[in-house]
Point group: C2
Chain length 382, copies 2
């Protein structure tokens, strides 16, 4: 036995490996579906004449951001300041932080980012504006500031016209800040089950955004950008005539939560994100136990689904830390079949927090590993 401080786990996959050779748990991207999703959303935004600024919180990977930019995105959204750094390092030069932040450590990050890229940020409180404006002046950087308005989410964002006016005026008092427009996101309507309910709810939210913008217009204040939307309402928001920019994220992957929605036409993204699991215990007759548990898949929006076609007689029943318990639902068909070592593909319930568990995507085409992409912003929640 030799101590060896440089010992490291082997790579989970190598270029050209077959899918069966990938060490599990592994987070897979099915490239054909992924490329379809990237192209279709870009085309949809183009058709409606809105800017596409995909949300990088979904994937946290600079390679994916670069592919989105190559397809026509004007920049990306991040949800946290620290999350933006790997994208800046990879050359993404226009980033919008679509979430409020507070405190000296966060303001310092914003200033540093603004030295390197075209930075825009989001506020809903005068103290956020004053802290940022003072620091930006001192540093000699310009930052574009959008005001978040509440269009039904009841989370962040001002909900009253006077509040909006007060913040826009506050931005105007800081020479280093520039009023960029409105942030308006309603997460609650992204997963409404029927297409028609999403359509009418998105229309109602767009009306609310329009009212904020009209209030400002009546005061002689233009909103260069009205940004928001998500994967579930992008088709409506892009066509609304209100939003100038959409920021969907999950569309690159699709997940079981979004797939449970009713979709219409070609808007539904294809499943491109999967988790490869391996059955590693078959000691019980009615279950198979796989190696993907709570540390391999986020369960906040439901348990993962079994990818159709391969292991249809299994159902993901419950998750412990590193165990996934798969119920054998067609037990008659499985009699006498020992499934130890069988690879099972899972569709995660919620893609964003699942991607945040992994360090790499293993990219698959035609059943082989074509590429491996780092998830550089994983864990960067500050």
């Amino acid at each position: 036995m030799n101590a060896d401080s440089s010992i490291k786990p082997p790579p989970i996959a190598k270029y050209g490996d077959s899918l069966a050779q990938v060490s599990t748990p592994a987070l897979l991207i099915e490239l054909d579906a992924f490329e379809h999703n990237i192209a279709r959303m870009a085309e949809m935004a183009r058709q409606h004449g809105v800017a596409l600024r995909p949300h990088a919180k979904a994937h946290k990977s600079s390679v994916i951001a670069q592919k989105q930019m190559a397809a026509g995105a004007i920049g990306i959204c991040c949800q946290k300041l620290s999350e933006a750094y790997p994208f800046v390092a990879a050359g993404i030069s226009d980033i919008y932080i679509s979430n409020e932040f507070v405190g000296p450590a966060k303001v310092a990050m914003a200033i540093e980012l603004a030295r390197h890229i075209k930075l825009s940020v989001c506020v809903d409180h005068i103290a956020q504006i004053d802290a940022l404006g003072t620091a930006a002046s001192a540093a000699g950087v310009m930052i574009t500031v959008l005001v978040e308005v509440d269009i039904g989410q009841a989370r962040c964002g001002v909900a009253r016209m006077e509040g909006l006016a007060m913040l826009v005026d506050g931005i105007a008092r800081h020479p280093a800040l520039h009023f960029g427009g409105l942030q308006a996101f309603h997460g609650g309507i992204q997963h409404l089950a029927t297409w028609d309910l999403r359509r009418t709810s998105a229309a109602a939210s767009a009306d609310k955004v329009a009212a904020y913008a009209q209030f400002l217009a009546a005061r002689g204040i233009a909103c260069p950008v009205i940004t928001g939307s998500g994967t579930g309402t992008a088709e409506f928001d892009a066509a609304s005539g209100v939003f100038t920019e959409i920021q969907p994220g999950s569309y690159v992957f699709m997940d079981a939560h979004y797939a449970a929605n009713e979709w219409s036409g070609s808007a539904m993204p294809r499943h491109s994100l999967f988790i490869a699991a391996t059955i590693m215990s078959t000691a019980k007759d009615d279950i198979a136990v796989c190696d993907v548990g709570l540390k391999g898949v986020a369960v906040d929006s439901g348990l993962p689904l079994i990818s159709p076609g391969q292991s249809d007689d299994l159902k993901f029943d419950r998750a412990n830390d590193e165990h996934g318990i798969l119920k054998i639902i067609d037990h008659a068909g499985a009699v006498g079949r020992d499934r130890l070592g069988e690879q099972v593909l899972l569709i995660p319930g919620h893609c964003d927090p699942t991607a945040n568990l992994y360090n790499q995507y293993v990219c698959i085409r035609n059943g082989c590993v074509e590429d491996i992409w780092n998830i550089e912003a994983r864990g960067l929640s500050q």
Copy 2:
């Protein structure tokens, strides 16, 4: 603006910082409580004459493993093979993989680990044994193999005496494998609400383990090690006279799920793990929105609690990806108080998958940052 491929987020804390200066979300260890927990469990194991092999899946940090070893642990458990690597690199020389694995990539890892440390592993299927035994012979390494027996969890592990005998015989056929004894864990009884129910359930499970051992003894086969237990039943298992080794993990941290148990005497670990959050939006009257959401705390075993004493009028109500919505439950007391920027300490519902979200622990004593420890095995689930 200057492109800079080396730009990186600043550190979330520096030595000597006050807690208020830590950039949130941050995963905190309160060192006094943590050291108490380490010492108390070690002392309990010593008193009962059982070996302590703490489960490193809870913390995934080599510094913590070293502190557990210094307090008297004989080695550590890991739940996955890749998880063991950072501990090997840090000099931990006795690691037990307390979970089944299958496939050539996993067997290759086991062989590599066995070249560096005293490795023991866990099986419940003859195919696992044969693959490992063949590879170990070819590589010229010895591996200790324990057989998992089911004591009520109904997950992995053989449930019949003939199955156990078949596996023990299988191990004996491989000259490079050594039968180490029994793995016996019942996760389901760790969180039984009352102390007495845990005590009687642990006793029933210990009886089951004893029956397996007696069956082997009657065949002339000794079990050098009978290992299992967890934070909820360690006090009973250590005193059972059946287990020779206990493998609790969460005791170093405690979490809200374990704290909901009824405890007795000095067995209850103290809360040492917290998440520092910051209120970053106060645009609504009845809620405060903090910067810790699904990417900053695991919610599989319940939402986080507000740490008592500081923000008692808040209740963690729901989590989105990067937002934690805190309900203001004592609204009358909060009138006129703008809480933007207030730091809130959360107690995670489930420590293991929460620690797996972070890259570092920020260690606090007397309100200041005393140390920062890497979570090197984070994400290593292969």
